[in-house]
Amino acid sequence: MEIHDLPVLADISDPDSLDFVFDAHVRDRDVLITRYRGTIIRPLKEGRYQLIGWQKSIYHFGGLNREVPIGAVITADGEGIIRDFRFDGRCEGSQGKNCDFSILHERISEKLIGKTISDIERIYITAGDVQCLHVFEILCSIASFYGLLKNRGLEEGQEQELATIIPTESGLICRDRHELLGGFNETEMLLTHCEPHRLNERNLCSYVNCDVHVRRHNEGNVTESLYAENFEGVYAQLNRLFSKCLRQEKRYFGLSGKVRYSMYPSLAGLFLLTFSHEGMEGSVDRALKIEKILHFIQAGEGRTPCLGFDGDLGIAKKILFAGNN
């Protein structure tokens, strides 16, 4: 199934199968990045609740074509205490088999079972605490959305979001649609490059000069400028752009506090990756360069390496040394 528009979640009778996530694909290689994420909270029998969270990233970067689908299901009792946690068996991280979901499952179950949904954000403060940014984002989305339903006195609800980044003749176009509790917010960002990006020695975008025309379906349009002369500056400019988008979305949906069920924080990182891809010359080793950027993002400069890069926990090591102790 090609995913161009968001599915109608209400029509899905067995959302915990997560087939609507794992069967969604984008074969059009002009679409550089597609990310689909969401959360469903629904009551089960005997006063229990099911909390379903997912995130699927699809990348097409000249030679690097990858899908990173992750889905998790939490079962909680009527008091919000977590009784069960599972990943879908089809989960794939960005580092393939090295992203060992059995290890993540074991660790997360150990920490979360018996705790409340609201405890999740206290237990997992940074992505390093989970050792997987995608799973961290899914868990925080679930906890944050659960908090919203609780504050509004709702027992069930759903939200989902789809973002795409596509090249244009003069830059990029990014479209984001977020559906939340029956409403939706749509944003389109048209980036026009004023100068070509420049990359640093790590192939990360370290110079950007572009205009961004932001169109919102429910508010006036605005034009922002992005200008930075180093990698940290590029990242800061992108964070600024998307924090303004999130602020607008919070106003529109009437949200307050820490909102984690949103694509905007991730879009800053995804744009950084896209800018770096755009700044590369030629096609030789492009996929390898992108892999190295992912490595830097996931394990570089003092960060706790994500599970796929953790040499002590990689599946290869487990297989190699199985039975040797």
């Binding site: 940074t126 500056g233 400019q237 602020r247």
Partner: protein
């Protein structure tokens, strides 16, 4: 100014202003991300009509840092 900044921080962190003090660490204690810090900066710029340079982001680690940076930018000492 202090009350307004604490209100901004409390809103971003999803806590009450009473839970914050100068030594509160934005990442370790409040679980804020670099994106949240950017959100706080954008909110402070709107609130106080100032422009905080991106180069000052790394200095912002605690509540006291937020107050200090805003004060210095207001005083034209950025």
């Amino acid at each position: 100014m202090r009350e307004k900044v604490l209100a901004l921080l409390a809103e971003s962190a999803g806590v009450t202003a009473d839970e914050l003090n100068d030594d509160t660490r934005l990442v370790a204690d409040l679980g804020l991300t670099s994106f949240d810090l950017s959100d706080i900066v954008v909110a402070a710029e709107d609130e106080f009509g100032i422009a905080i340079p991106d180069s000052r982001f790394p200095e912002i680690q605690t509540v006291a840092d937020v107050l200090r940076v805003i004060e210095e930018v207001q005083d034209g000492d950025s």
